[in-house]
């Protein structure tokens, strides 16, 4: 792997985002609007807001980053730029690491902005550490990015890539424990949810909300493991030679 090629790729992606202020604004603002909506929705039930806000603080960015990353990677594939990169001294790992770096930066800013908004404007008050909350919210966005990158090789058009959101993300959202606690699920569903990455991303945030820092640490570590796995999958499914 070459650090030079990785950094060059990350800078190029950030240049592209800079040139697309509307996407940048959507990435930053959409989670805020959704969290604000949530606050209004639970106007008469502040306890419920305090319960669902921390997980969604991670899950909204996760979805946004999943979409942005998978479409960006797919575009690279369909525009021919990937083919050209594959003829240059840049390894598949360099490319994926460049993506991870650039979108991690973006996810970082997004996570901080959304968490600050939730705590300072919406009055979110978690039992655990606010810094940990921000960290895990960022980790959620990273997971979305990594899964988007990992799955993008399965899509051949942007239409398909967008459809991966309902296909891969929504089932995880239903099973992660937000709607029905996992221990109340049918045994088969609980078993399935145990191998889905979003389950742990959710758990880490929910644990911080109730002040269970050791539970949060374990769940965050598992989430990080899924990130690495998805990125490795992204690198392995890139092909230098194609039909």
């Amino acid at each position: 792997m070459s650090r030079r090629a990785t950094i060059a790729t990350a800078r190029r992606l950030l240049d592209q985002l800079r040139r697309d202020p509307r996407t940048l604004a959507l990435i930053m603002l959409v989670p805020l609007v959704l969290l604000g909506l949530l606050k209004l929705l639970f106007q008469s039930n502040e306890a419920e807001f305090q319960h669902v806000c921390p997980p969604l603080l991670g899950i909204f960015p996760l979805i946004v980053m999943f979409l942005v990353t998978s479409v960006t990677m797919l575009r690279e594939r369909t525009s021919g730029t990937l083919e050209r990169l594959m003829t240059l001294p840049l390894s598949r790992g360099d490319l994926v690491a460049g993506y991870a770096l650039a979108f991690a930066l973006l996810a970082g800013v997004q996570g901080v902005v959304a968490s600050a908004f939730a705590v300072l404007v919406l009055g979110l008050d978690v039992q655990g550490s606010t810094v940990a909350l921000i960290g895990v919210a960022v980790l959620n966005a990273e997971l979305g990015m990594a899964c988007g990158l990992g799955l993008s090789s399965l899509a051949t058009t942007e239409f398909q890539a967008v459809q991966f959101m309902p296909a891969f993300i929504l089932p995880q959202l239903l099973l992660c424990g937000l709607f029905v606690p996992r221990d109340q699920m049918a045994a088969a569903l609980e078993a399935i949810s145990a191998v889905l990455p979003m389950t742990y991303a959710y758990e880490a945030l929910a644990d911080i909300a109730v002040g269970d820092s050791s539970g949060a640490a374990v769940a965050a570590a598992v989430t990080l493991g899924f990130c690495v796995l998805a990125l490795a999958l992204g690198a392995l499914t890139l092909r230098r030679r194609t039909d």
């Binding site: 030079r4 090629a5 950094i7 060059a8 790729t9 800078r11 190029r12 240049d15 592209q16 040139r19 697309d20 525009s79 021919g80 730029t81 083919e83 050209r84 990169l85 594959m86 003829t87 240059l88 001294p89 840049l90 230098r240 030679r241 194609t242 039909d243």
Partner: protein, 242 residues
């Protein structure tokens, strides 16, 4: 030819989607020359070029580039490639596009400027490429291929959509690169451009019709009109096969 060929292809077969695109090609591309790969669209030119730069799945045969199997990692610094689609980031400027490639190749900003200048894009260097014409996009791509001193340039239809003046300038640039020691393989579907090449390879439906020079082609077919020469070659081959 006293020196070894820059590209040596033996029995190259490529299948795409259950269809055979190249049924088994043998071809040598001379070092230090500008070779034109000429044929109608769909004749397999891009597939052949993709095989040479090592991004094409091949079903059989060997492709040797600068003495090494195509796709060998060390070739990635020695061979430059532009695709037919241009392969540029539309949301970035010409400078940003070329700079990205330069950073991968560990080349400085002065070389980025020089490359953009060589393709005549300095005036539009900072506009997003998406707003440029098709020909300009191709030139951005070409600028990327000029970084460093590649020994072999594989250029897929680099002059498509360019006005005659620019086309002339680019062919002059190809000559200069050759004079500097580089080997160029340039594809085109414009037969007139065959006259600008040192060597001409004619491709039709995945088969080599002829490997010759523009003059040789005229002599062989007895016509000055390259379009007509191509037709006569096809007729001769079809007649021979019947």
């Amino acid at each position: 030819m006293s020196t070894a060929p820059a590209i040596s292809i033996r029995g190259l077969q490529v299948d795409r989607g259950g269809r055979t695109v190249l049924p088994g090609i043998d071809l040598d591309v001379a070092a230090g020359r500008v070779t034109g790969l000429i044929g109608p669209s769909g004749s397999g030119k891009s597939t052949l070029m993709r095989a040479i730069v090592g991004v094409q799945n091949v079903a059989g045969g060997t492709v040797s580039v600068l003495g090494q199997p195509a796709g060998t990692p060390s070739l990635r610094r020695r061979v430059a490639y532009t695709t037919q689609s241009g392969s540029v980031y539309d949301d970035l400027s010409a400078t940003e596009n070329v700079r990205y490639l330069a950073r991968i190749l560990a080349r400085g900003d002065d070389e980025v400027r020089r490359a953009i200048d060589l393709v005549g894009l300095s005036a539009d260097a900072d506009r997003p490429v998406g707003g440029l014409s098709g020909g300009q996009r191709h030139r951005v791509s070409l600028a990327g291929a000029l970084l460093g001193t590649p020994e072999l340039l594989i250029l897929d239809e680099p002059t498509v959509g360019l006005d005659p003046l620019l086309r002339r300038d680019l062919w002059a640039l190809f000559d200069r690169l050759r004079d500097g020691g580089a080997t160029l393989l340039v594809s085109t579907h414009v037969l007139d451009e065959a006259a600008r090449c040192d060597e001409v390879v004619l491709l039709r439906e995945g088969r080599l019709l002829a490997t010759t020079t523009a003059d040789g082609l005229r002599r062989e077919t007895g016509t000055d009109d390259l379009d007509e020469a191509f037709v006569r070659l096809i007729e001769r081959q079809d007649g021979g096969a019947a």
